[in-house]
Symmetry: C2
Subunit: 293 residues, 2 copies
């Protein structure tokens, strides 16, 4: 790492609803995670929130990634256009004030395709640094907005977002499915049936209703509908994410509860999924970026 990182630094994953911070030492080893609910939407006063970080940092640099760099964050940081390398992303870190840098997101445009990410780029670079993802290949990052990323030569070359978690939450919040989606949605036979249906069909908004109709008609139990709907959405996600790519082994990067769901769906699609902890990848990515500054 550069001289100013000689005493380590603070890595911040500053998202929409939460903020998570780690103190990373000069060897790149992270201490315990500290998290709070000062996500950007709950944060009216960025200077005050940053002052709090400054106290924690004790003079060390602070590297932030995620929605903190969006137009609703502390400072809007322009996207780096894909294909985006570690060096390009590090060079575009924006120092809002001395010692406080925001990592840029990545954009992708190809014909009518257009996509953006903010935060996931750090985990992707971290996965590459940890050799958890090949320099060339497909990586899945499941979440509220799942990212399917094609890496080329260690760069983020192309990607597509699928808003699976967001759609599930919206339906659970307010739709004819709300009652059913209040149940737990374990990875079980109903989940796999939903995955299988979505992998083989193109009728998502109809099959969502069928999940309820089967319960109404006594052909399925209400407690299984949430798993089926989760399977439908994740199966659709996987089908779209894999596209026409020949990817036999797919690293899945994120929180264990989500990577397990997507690994199950990828297995159903005949692929080998390899799960990786997203936090470890985030730290590794921040260390890689700090090292490239």
């Amino acid at each position: 790492m550069a001289e100013r990182f000689a005493d380590g630094f603070v890595a911040v994953d500053w998202g929409t609803t939460n903020r998570r911070t780690w103190l990373v030492d000069a060897a790149g080893v992270a201490g315990a995670e500290a998290s709070d609910d000062r996500g950007i939407l709950a944060c009216a006063d960025f200077p005050a929130a940053v002052a709090q970080l400054r106290d924690r940092a004790g003079g060390r640099p602070v590297l932030m990634a995620g929605m903190i760099g969006s137009n609703r964050g502390w400072r809007e940081v322009p996207y780096v256009a894909a294909p985006a390398t570690l060096a390009m992303i590090a060079a575009a870190v924006t120092w809002v004030e001395p010692g406080f840098g925001i990592v840029p997101g990545v954009s992708f445009v190809d014909g009518t395709l257009a996509d953006v990410m903010r935060g996931e780029e750090v985990q992707l670079l971290g996965a590459a640094a940890l050799a958890a993802a090949d320099a060339d290949g497909l990586v899945c990052h499941p979440g509220t907005h799942t990212k399917w990323v094609e890496m080329e030569g260690g760069a983020i070359a192309r990607f597509r977002t699928v808003m699976t978690g967001d759609v599930f939450a919206a339906l659970a919040h307010k739709s004819i499915l709300s009652d059913l989606l209040a149940h737990d949605a374990p990875v079980d036979d109903s989940f796999l049936a939903g995955v299988d249906h979505a992998l083989a069909n193109n009728d998502l908004t109809a099959e969502l209703f069928a999940a309820r109709a089967r319960v109404v008609l006594g052909r399925a139990e209400a407690v299984h509908a949430a798993s089926y709907v989760s399977g439908l959405l994740i199966g659709s996600d996987v089908r779209t994410g894999l596209g026409r790519l020949r990817a036999d082994v797919v690293p899945v990067l994120g929180t264990p509860v989500l990577t397990a769901r997507f690994a199950a769906a990828l297995t159903r699609a005949g692929r080998t999924a390899v799960e990786h902890d997203g936090d470890a990848a985030f730290i590794a990515g921040m260390v890689a970026i700090a090292g490239a500054l």
Copy 2:
């Protein structure tokens, strides 16, 4: 009509959020619509709400259809299994008390397919009575839950529900798209682009996010995103509804603002859409049911 309908009757479309009533004379001609917000979810006291109807009816029979016959309504009325004829539906009208009949919904099961309707069956029978729909053919009934119905010999033979309006409303209410979906969504070039995309692809939950990414990247205007998303969902609906059926001419039954959107999408799919007013079909359907009692 039977003797007890000699002075006409009151037709009630009693749904989840609204209740609409018409006084229909002995010749089957309806007076002005009266509507209120006493939908079943707002109605804690059905006897009181029914007493109000009784005053309006002045001794005439009251025929009710819609969610009033669901497990959240006044009395749960079992579904008639498709294929369902006018005679079968009329025979299954449930008289909750003298003079107050609830028209049953229709269910459809075929292998793993399962579906239900409550209320639309009246419009479908009415369209057949009006010769607005052929005795054999596909009918589209767009809405919160669009129904695509295959009529055979005047009976409701098979159908599939697509929860288009419900998904749009859920995304508008609470998702990353909420801000964009607060705009009007006219039937314009953006709408048609969404329809075209959905007719040709199988990536709905990804393309929904792309609608936002294009705005973020300055490749589309925020005011056009709602039309594009509406087009994506309605295009998916039409693609699913048409399925593998050879239907060159498709009657579209419902409220004019909705039938226009679906007619535009069907035209894009190379079909001839013929729009019909859903209220007229509802009255005709209730008259047909009354006549069969």
